[in-house]
């Protein structure tokens, strides 16, 4: 009991981590299992499910669609985020707090509400559903993340650095190229990676707003109806999980490197 009393915080932390990540571990576990039935005990090791993915054309189409949506979303939301972040970090204008608040709102709105609202609006406008309507919805939810990441990059960028450069005889473009860009670039890349990852994983908006072309999460959902396909879905999920984690780690590492360059707090608390 005494041991528990002194270590209860550590025990709590371990239990919490198991609760959080144990289900995730099940994904690769069953993806490498020979049986099509998702249940213990495991029957044997196989990579067939992964190999099978290679020959599934519909999956490749969905992956292509997701790539198109993800890249478009990442570029658009990072571009919009860069403008908004620069405006909010550099300039004071009437109603700034309110405007920034409204832009950040999709961060806390339930996605299903956004999806339904967008669907109703698109129908009213008579716009056909396609991958581009999905991009529109994704940009809406990804821009707040881009703003949060880029704001911290811009806030760390001392305005006097640009003035010094100009004072030392450099042109506006030269100042952007030699001072501004190198200092915010890690933030930009981090924003691209994170918005891409969010778009890649997003299901609800993609499900509501897409036409006949499906994105990867929507494809996965459609496969769940067939019990025999479950292990392939697990394999696909495993790949997605690894890709997402790698992208997020790279993004965070870049963000920290940029913060360290500017000599500011490198923990997430600084965001």
């Amino acid at each position: 009991m005494k041991w528990l009393a002194s270590r209860w915080l550590a025990v709590y932390a371990v239990v919490y981590m198991i609760f959080l990540y144990a289900p995730v571990i099940l994904l690769p576990l069953f993806a490498l299992n020979t049986s099509t039935i998702i249940a213990f005990p495991l029957s044997g090791f196989t990579t067939d499910w992964f190999v099978g993915l290679w020959y599934t054309d519909t999956l490749h189409t969905a992956l292509g669609n997701s790539m198109l949506v993800g890249l478009s979303t990442a570029l658009l939301s990072t571009l919009l985020g860069a403008f908004a972040a620069r405006a909010s970090a550099r300039f004071a204008f009437p109603g700034k707090t309110g405007i920034v608040g409204l832009i950040m709102l999709p961060l806390v709105l339930p996605e299903i509400i956004i999806a339904v609202a967008l669907l109703v609006m698109l129908n009213q406008l008579g716009m056909p559903l396609s991958l581009w309507t999905v991009v529109g919805g994704h940009v809406l939810i990804c821009t707040p993340f881009a703003i949060a990441i880029l704001s911290s990059a811009y806030r760390g960028l001392d305005r006097e650095l640009e003035e010094v450069s100009f004072d030392l005889g450099e042109s506006r473009w030269g100042t952007f190229r030699r001072v501004t860009l190198p200092l915010v670039l890690p933030g930009v890349i981090s924003s691209l990676l994170i918005t891409f990852t969010i778009s890649l994983d997003e299901f609800i908006i993609a499900f509501f707003l897409t036409g006949t072309d499906v994105t990867l999460p929507v494809y996965i959902w459609s496969q769940l109806r067939f019990p025999a396909k479950l292990p392939s879905v697990m394999a696909l999920g495993t790949i997605l999980l690894v890709v997402s984690v790698v992208l997020l780690i790279v993004a965070e590492a870049l963000r920290r490197r940029s913060a360290a360059r500017q000599g500011i707090d490198t923990t997430l608390a600084g965001v």
């Binding site: 001392d158 006097e160 010094v164 450069s165 004072d167 030392l168 001072v179 000599g263």
Partner: protein, 367 residues
């Protein structure tokens, strides 16, 4: 080289409005070639705005600024012969010391080997040899300041602008850097313009000082002129410590004014010691510096005039003692400073003392 009559910067009737707020109300001043010039004033007096206008970061609402005989209207900061040292130093965090210092030469498309040579020269000038490969976060406050200065000096500007360059340093380092900056400026002979709110710093470093309040230059003078002959009570109380005593003129002759000063008494002040444009009828107070009054330690010390007083407080600084005294017939406490020379004891509060003073002690304000 330091031809005192040549103007490096001519500022003519410069007005600056920010919306409905007027930051500068028609500033006119000449800054001489090779001089160390300070803009001194409390925060919000417009000194930094004026400096940024000389640098080219702000444009005057009206009026003109000329540098080295050339009107600067419409010429942006990157094409002016001025370089600025910022308050934050603004060292580029992604570049090392060498790259920081050589930044401006690279913008001029100078050859890399020439840049390296110039950088080495200027780093030795500011005593920073061997620090070339360090990054900004590996430097102390004093070193950053030197790098920022080197980065400006390497451009061989006609004027170096310094925006409160020492305010981020601790007292000891600041004292040291004041002397170093001053020495450096004298040896290279470039015109320096310093913005500061620290009157002591301005007095120590400058050839001339413009004291600014609320967007106007109140007085432009040498450090000694400012201290000894402040034009008004505001300047007098901003520069050093000043006691104010009510006074009025009781008689005037061609050579003297007779002043009746509260608590001290009557004195004749020669006219040549006060400004010519003083309205004698309007005089209602005079100033007395703490060191211009003397505590007489025994009856044998001589003084032109003396009054009896009582010590109410004593502040001992080692080399100096500051006494707060009460003069009969005057409610405000008066400060007197005395050097603690050999054989002079420190008077404790409650002591009865004689205060010696003379016509030389009195400062008559112009307005």
């Amino acid at each position: 080289m330091n031809d005192a009559t040549t103007s490096m910067i001519e500022i003519r009737e410069v007005v600056k409005n920010f919306g409905s707020f007027t930051a500068l109300h028609g500033i006119t001043a000449d800054i001489r070639e090779g001089e160390f010039f300070s803009l001194l004033g409390p925060s919000g007096c417009g000194k930094t705005t004026l400096l940024r206008m000389i640098a080219g970061f702000e444009a005057p609402t009206s009026g003109a600024i000329a540098i080295d005989g050339k009107d600067m209207a419409g010429i942006p900061a990157n094409r002016r012969p001025t370089n600025m040292v910022f308050q934050s130093y603004a060292i580029f965090p992604h570049l090392n010391v060498e790259e920081n210092v050589g930044y401006g030469l690279k913008a001029r498309k100078m050859e890399n080997k020439d840049i390296a040579r110039e950088v080495a020269d200027v780093l030795s000038l500011v005593d920073m040899e061997g620090y070339g490969k360090r990054k900004a976060h590996e430097l102390s406050g004093g070193q950053r300041q030197r790098v920022a200065l080197a980065r400006a000096l390497i451009m061989k500007p006609k004027v170096v602008l310094l925006d409160e360059p020492l305010s981020a340093l601790d007292k000891k380092l600041r004292d040291q850097m004041q002397v170093e900056l001053r020495t450096l400026q004298r040896s290279i002979g470039i015109t320096f313009i310093l913005v500061t709110h620290d009157q002591e710093e301005a007095l120590i470093m400058s050839d001339r000082i413009a004291v600014m309040f609320e967007g106007r230059i109140e007085q432009l003078d040498s450090p000694e002129g400012l201290y000894r002959r402040p034009v008004n009570k505001r300047v007098a109380s901003f520069i050093g410590v000043m006691n104010f005593l009510p006074a009025r003129v009781t008689a005037t002759t061609d050579t003297h004014l007779t002043l009746d000063i509260a608590a001290l008494g009557s004195v004749e002040v020669p006219r040549h010691s006060i400004a010519t444009d003083v309205d004698t009828a309007a005089i209602n107070s005079v100033g007395v510096r703490p060191e211009m009054l003397t505590l007489l330690f025994d009856g044998f010390e001589r003084s032109e005039n003396k009054v009896e007083a009582e010590v109410t407080d004593t502040q001992y600084y080692g080399d100096m003692t500051y006494y707060t005294i009460r003069l009969p017939g005057h409610a405000e406490p008066v400060t007197i400073s005395m050097r603690n020379t050999a054989g002079r004891s420190v008077m404790s509060p409650g002591s009865k003392v004689s205060v010696g003073w003379g016509a030389d002690s009195i400062v008559v304000f112009r307005d």
